[in-house]
């Protein structure tokens, strides 16, 4: 996991609510045993037609789309299946952050564990972003703020623990393993209780 402290990029907008993880990566790509090689699978049924040709009407295929590292989407982004492949596919496609007014729980948890910054902003700001695709945003994790091109800045909530992991590029497993004594004590106390 690469450390992420600041991000400056143009946005790509998917102006739709309830984009589920089956859209982000269709289930037929889930037979893999690897994390890698999923960039092509990202939004595969949106980007490609039945014959495997790129769809011209899909914003993910537009010129310059691959330079956009910030994805702006409607409410309840990432709902549905818990597949972490959705996060891997988005990252491998080139996204480093996802902004929505409301993110699905499991998707958000998965994203933050992989260095994909998943944040919720207020509905009016997201509504504005949805209407203005391609604007350049400045995201700073140090003070948890997103700055718009006009200089207006908006704070976001990010769990301090997840924020530290993102900024330092570490995952939570090391922290968990350092708690082995506590875990063992809990196991002993539960064995005694039952």
């Amino acid at each position: 996991m690469k450390p992420l402290q600041k991000l400056k990029s143009r946005t790509l907008v998917l102006d739709q609510d309830n984009i589920d993880t089956d859209q982000i990566i269709p289930a037929r790509f889930l037979t893999t045993t690897q994390r890698e090689g999923l960039a092509k699978a990202a939004f595969a049924d949106w980007r490609f037609d039945a014959d495997g040709r790129l769809r011209a009407d899909c914003s993910l295929n537009a010129p310059g789309a691959s330079d956009c590292q910030i994805l702006v989407a409607g409410d309840n982004f990432g709902c549905g299946s818990s597949r972490e492949h959705a996060v891997w596919a988005l990252e491998q496609f080139g996204f480093k952050a996802v902004i929505s007014a409301r993110l699905a729980d499991i998707f958000r948890a998965n994203a933050l564990k992989n260095g994909l910054l998943a944040i919720e902003l207020g509905r009016p700001v997201v509504a504005w972003l949805r209407q203005h695709p391609g604007v350049e945003l400045d995201i700073c994790l140090e003070d948890c703020r997103v700055t718009l091109p006009d200089g207006a800045s908006h704070g976001f909530n990010l769990d301090p623990f997840a924020r530290t992991c993102l900024m330092e590029g570490v995952d939570a497993l090391g922290y968990l393993l350092a708690k082995t004594d506590l875990i063992a004590r809990h196991e002993v106390s539960q064995a005694g209780a039952s």
Binding site: D20, T31, S81, R83, D105, N114, K179, T180
Partner: protein
Amino acid sequence: MSQTLFEKVWNRHLVQDETADAPALLYIDLHLIHEVTSPQAFTELQQRRLTVRCPERTVATMDHSTPTWSADLQGQRRYASEQAWEQVQTLMENCDRHGIVLHDWDSPNRGVVHVMAPELGLTQPGMTIVCGDSHTSTHGAFGALAFGIGTSEVGHVLASQCLLQRKPKTLCIRVEGELGPGVTAKDLVLHIIGKVGVDAGTGHVIEFAGSAIRSLDMEGRMTVCNMAIEAGARAGLIAPDQTTIDWLRGRRHCPQGEQFERAAEDWLSLASDPGAVYDREILIDATTVAPTMTYGTHPGMVVAVDQPVPMPADGTAARALEYMQVKPGETLQGRPVDVVFIGSCTNARLGDLRAAADIIRGRQVAPGVRMLVVPGSEQVRRAAEAEGLDRGFINAGAEWREPGCSMCIAMNGDRVAPGQTAVSTSNRNFEGRQGPGSRTFLASPATAAACAVRGCIADPRFLDGEPEVCIHFPSPRHMEARP
């Protein structure tokens, strides 16, 4: 102080409480794994030279990528791809290497993870249960705190038997009154999601309570909790009661004899205390629920089968109607159907198959309709075959397959062709969920079977135009699967 069911289970499993800086450390009693979401977690463990902390608390099955065709005479199975076969092999190797019990092809208990674990009594009230699968909420029907996790978290649980979690909020959905004749748990949960919305439960666990929930059998409760995630909640819970205890008694992994009675006493004490406070409460009237189906591309776009499809609320909904080729103002009844799927962790238990078989009995699957019946587990398959349900389906023109997730997620080769209309007892009607370009209408097993025999969307209560006196919806006790 009064506590909710969720708070009681949560508190019992706190290894370390949350602070402003760090999430809580929650102990996990049971970790269910399958072939799709575990391989990368095992790779991570291997790379870090870690072992599985509690193989005895980890149980594996294979369900998503597995073919539902029987093995041929040489014992070969028809996998959808080389990669699907490799994935299943990888699970076998990982379980073997780490000493994890795997219910593989030879196990009499293999099945869809959320069907087989309760059957074996692995799922017990008051437990914390996780699985790399969003429908883990199913196990909440027993008063367990059960939720889906991603592959990174699968790795965390394998290595530490714990998860880092922020305490979620609580939402109580109270369903009062009696469900009408021919109205099932599936109709109820679709109705609920339609009322509260697909993100009402985000950040919450849902407790389903009220007289209509208490009068459901365990299978119905599992159907309801299974779809808590479709309302945005990672977990759905129902308080353990005598129905729960009776269902669990004698199951293989449950305590036995005197120990069971002691455990049962403890389980009954888990129910939310009188006066316990939830962050939110929603009241639902069960008497207004009719056989309900989805008409759009998420499980909150629902309508009673005999009611007109509402006007789209926004652009996203309008796009969904276009994809589904559904017009506002029309009823779903009479819409031609290509495929009917009876299966999935939502509705592939014995009671579900019986409900479908009751409709099929004495009738035929309509010409041009493909009906696929996929039992949820080997136990369900055997019980159904012992009653002759398989013959009933086959004689009516349906396909009777081996257990697995099958057409619910369409990973194993069982899928709906582009442009086809499917009525499915599964849980998700997302665009392309059952195959690229497929159109899915979610329904109860009774409704799905009615659609199969009519060849179009139909109300199971009035199958031949007259109220169906011959359709009996058995009382809860009779719908129980045997241990």
